[in-house]
Amino acid sequence: MKLRFIAIVLMLISCSKEIPEINNHTKVLEFAQSIKTENLYPLVEKIYQTHINDIPISNEGFPSDDLFPSDHLTRSAAVGFVAKELRDMGYQVDTVICGNQPPIAYNIVAEIKGVANPNSVILVGCHLDAFYGGADDNTTAVAAMLEIARAARAFSFNKTIRFVAFDLEEFGSLGSTRYIEEGHAKDVSAALVMDLIGYSSNQAGSQKDVMGIKMPSVGDYLIVVGNENSAELTQQIVSFSHTYNISKPLGILAPHDGVYFMSSVFMRSDHGLLWYKGLPAVFFSDGANFRNPHYHKPTDRPETIHQDFLKNNTKLIAASLAILAEIQL
C-alpha cells in the first residue's frame, strides 16, 4: 500500500510527457522546403486588392452606431479568387453553400485524396473574409494555404488533405460553424487552422499578455495552440521547428478541450467548434489584437506584413501538414 502511494506521488512529480517521434523527417522537411516563398507576398497583395475592390456585405439590419460585424466586411471577390487559384492548380473545387438565410456562407473546398487511408481527412483551414483589405487578417493565411496547396500537388500523403477557405469567420465563425453543423466535417480526423500569420515585431512590449496568460513580450513568434486532444501534435510541431530551425513557434496548450473562461480566447477562430466537438485541431496565429495594432482597421495593409516571418511560418505549417497527413516516401 505504502509502495503504491509512493509510486503515485513519484508519477505525479515526474509527469512530463515524452514528445512522440516523427517518422519520415527528411520528407517532411523536403515538403516544407518546397514552399516557394517568393509566391507568398504577391499573393497577399493580390488578395488584399481583391478585398479593397469588393463591395462590403450589407449592413442592413444593424443599427447605424453599431455596424459590427458587417462594417466593411468583404468576401465575395475573395471567394471567386480562391476558387480560381485552386482550380488553376488542377484541383476540383467545390463551393459548399451553408445556411438557408442571409448571410449565406460560401466555403471553398479542394482535396487531395490520401493514398493509404483516404477516409481519414486532415482539414487545413483559414477564413477568406476580411475587414477592409485585411492584409494580415486573413490574407496572409489564405496566401499560405494556397501556396501549401500548390506545393502539395507534387507529393503523396497517406491521409486525405482537405483545404477549406471558410467564409464569414468575422461574422462569428459562421462559415465554419455551419460547415461543421451541417455535417460536412464528419470525416475530418484532425485540423490545422490559421488566422493572421504575418505580423511580427522586435519591440519589447509588442506582444500583450492574453487573458491573464503571461506571454513573451517581444512579439516575434508564431503562436501554435493546441488543447489536450492535440497536445502531442502541438509538441511535435514545436519540436520539429526547434530541431530544423524553421520558424519561431510558441507552443501553447489550453487545458482539456479549451472551453474555459481563461482559455476560451484561444478558440476565437474556425477551429473553435472542432475543439468543442472533441476533434484534434492546432491553431496558428500571430496574436491578432494582442499584437497587431492594425487589427480590423483600414491600416491592415500589405506593407505592415513581415515577409520573412510569413515565409517561415508557412514552411512550418506545411511541415505540420506533412506530419499530420503522413507524407509518403
Binding site: C15, G212, K214, I252
Partner: protein
C-alpha cells in the same frame, strides 16, 4: 537551488515543531478563495473552495494543511501546507508561510524543444490573515491575502474570502 534549500529548511522546521508538541488543538476548517499562478510556462488560476485541518501547537504557532479545488481555467487543485504565527486573544491575526503544490488543469507554454512543463507547480508564499477571530469553539477569518513565488519564475497570488474552523 537556493529556493529548494529554503523550502527544505522550512519543511524540516515545521516537522520539528510538530513532533515536539503533545497538546495539539485540532481544528478542521472550510475555506473559499482564489489563486493565480502565473509563470512563463504555466498559468493556473481559479476561484473555489477547500477543506483543511489546523493544528494549534502552542499559544502562538499554527500549522495548517488544506486541499482546494478551483474553477476558471479548467479544474485545478492545490495542496497547501502552512506554518503560522498568531496573536493570542479573541482577535488573533496571523501570518503564514505556505508551501503549495498546484496540479490539474492549466494553460501551458511549451519549452523551446516542445516538452511540457513539469507537473505539479510549486509555490512558496506568505499569507496575511489580519481579520481573524478565535474563541473556544473555533475561528473565523476573512480576506486573507498571500503573495509568493514558484517554479518557472512564477508569481503566485492567493486569497481566502472566508475561512471557518470548528475546534474538536
Amino acid at each position: 537551488m537556493r529556493k529548494l534549500r529554503i523550502i527544505l529548511t522550512w519543511c524540516m522546521l515545521s516537522c520539528t515543531l510538530l513532533m515536539a508538541q503533545t497538546n495539539i488543538i485540532y481544528t478542521p476548517y472550510l475555506q473559499s478563495g482564489g489563486m493565480y499562478f502565473s509563470s512563463k510556462n504555466i498559468t493556473s488560476a481559479g476561484i473555489g473552495s477547500g477543506i483543511g485541518l489546523c493544528l494549534g501547537i502552542s499559544k502562538y504557532i499554527l500549522v495548517q494543511s488544506d486541499a482546494n479545488i478551483y474553477w476558471m481555467n479548467g479544474n485545478a487543485g492545490a495542496f497547501r501546507f502552512a506554518i503560522g504565527y498568531k496573536r493570542t486573544g479573541r482577535w488573533s491575526p496571523a501570518v503564514f508561510t505556505n508551501l503549495t503544490t498546484i496540479f490539474g488543469a492549466r494553460t501551458e507554454i511549451l519549452l523551446d524543444d516542445g516538452a511540457r512543463p513539469k507537473n505539479p507547480a510549486l509555490a512558496l508564499s506568505v499569507r496575511l490573515s489580519p481579520l481573524r477571530w478565535e474563541n473556544e469553539q473555533g475561528f473565523i477569518s476573512v480576506f486573507e491575502l498571500g503573495y509568493g513565488f514558484g517554479n518557472y519564475n512564477a508569481k503566485y497570488l492567493e486569497t481566502c474570502f472566508l475561512s471557518l474552523g470548528l475546534k474538536l
